[in-house]
Symmetry: C2
Subunit: 315 residues, 2 copies
Amino acid sequence: MKKKLAVIALGGNALLRGDQIGTIDEQEQNTADTLQNLMYLIKEGYDLIIAHGNGPQVGNILMRNDAGETMYGIAQMPLDVCVADSQGGIGYMIERILRNTLKDHGISKEVLTVVTPVLVDINDPAFSNPTKPVGKYYTKEQADELTAAKGWIFKASPKGDGYRRNVPSPKPLAIMNEKVIESMARAGTIVIAVGGGGIPVYIDENKNVRPAEAVIDKDTASALLAARIGADEFYILTDVPFVYINYKKENEEKLEFLTYDMAKKHLDAGMFGEGSMAPKIRACMEFVKGGGEMAVITEATKLEDMSYGSKITLH
Amino acid sequence: MKKKLAVIALGGNALLRGDQIGTIDEQEQNTADTLQNLMYLIKEGYDLIIAHGNGPQVGNILMRNDAGETMYGIAQMPLDVCVADSQGGIGYMIERILRNTLKDHGISKEVLTVVTPVLVDINDPAFSNPTKPVGKYYTKEQADELTAAKGWIFKASPKGDGYRRNVPSPKPLAIMNEKVIESMARAGTIVIAVGGGGIPVYIDENKNVRPAEAVIDKDTASALLAARIGADEFYILTDVPFVYINYKKENEEKLEFLTYDMAKKHLDAGMFGEGSMAPKIRACMEFVKGGGEMAVITEATKLEDMSYGSKITLH
């Protein structure tokens, strides 16, 4: 029997929960809890690629860059390098804990973390409309100074507590190392890749790879990787066991099975939150449209029981 | 003909020179200049693994961690995570520029950056004698506070300008992903690995992989990787075209060819600086003793002309 290949996208709270301050002990404990649940898939014989978010971590790296310049005059690194830093640090943490979890379960497998640039189009409309807030809150005066000095674009926080740099969130087009990632994963190595949605790069008119000051949605990038390498299944692990419509209302409805068309109907009707479930649904739709067998949105702890999880298929 | 496999260790000044402040533009330009010189080896048909230092970069990451905690109360990451961050950021920078350099030379090759934990022994005597200064300079009072709070060990700077945290520099025993790194490199992918000498980890009594608060010498770790995977050649690129004895003295002697025994004789006689050439010579000796054909210490710009470079062989 041909082994199945699955791409698992770990949501932010799989590594760091909103009520935590982000010490390494907290991150390691959350990661261990999450990885525990992947053992079921490995015992079922799946080859695995693990993708993950980096929101809180790259936020902290950006703040530290700001503080390092202010206190010690250390040159700030651009956003692409900060994302790359976060892939190194988070990927290593997942890798180290995964090695121990595998050992506890008597499973012998290689684990490899790869730094992952992801290709975007510099003419993507997202570049003329930055929508993704990153880094610290600034006063109006500070924001204006930074716009003058670095060309950064700021927007007032919706809560009225300051201004934040907004960067574009362009659509990913290809994963730079997808062939190598695929061949390693199909050879049985668990590959940790596409951290934080990948480091955004574009190809300029001279065919050079250039950094894009942007961030890429991690679910979209993970789904793209899964589709491009012909993975069989794609999992988004988040903080709910199912996708719902009319969530927490009287007419709440749990969606266990969703075809592409049903998902599109609900999406077009605005049934999914833009900041939360809508991009996940879109990522799953792209995956099954791209040839994937099944996409699943669920909680990590529910992986072992297939009666949980919203399953999205093409038909 | 079987292709030759070479491991290239890029010295600190291949990425960032001592007289520079470390902006991303400076780092990218230095990296581009260095990588240009590797094209000769690639055109000769070598498979390549590129290792690199991280001294100035991880120093900046540690300073930013300190500043981030002071200014914004962001939890500091431990040293292992900071090293992992630096592998991500530096590895990505090398990878991106290498892709462009290859393109300029019409060479089609995959490039992959891997996060690399390196195994050390927690009973290594280095752990009871930390000798490697990292991060910022502190006053005596600050140093004492940090020793009380975090158990950090401080030593007065030789220049008398403050106190610095000193961490152990244990001997590397194995590269955690050496088999995967080797198989990718032998399949023609240029692999960027063992950044900064690797992220030091050890195996505890329960066979768990644990982080070690230490740093590993990059030349020693690169030579170990080269020997363990049976690489044919090992290059250390530094800021001199040859190794010398009595450097810059009247009786200065250029060492073009060195056997293991000759190198050991000069080493035992203290002819190489402990902070500079001695660890490089030791790394090369370990490589040829471990079965490597030839180790070379030279400048990047001299790679194309084999009349340059000190060549170390077993006999």
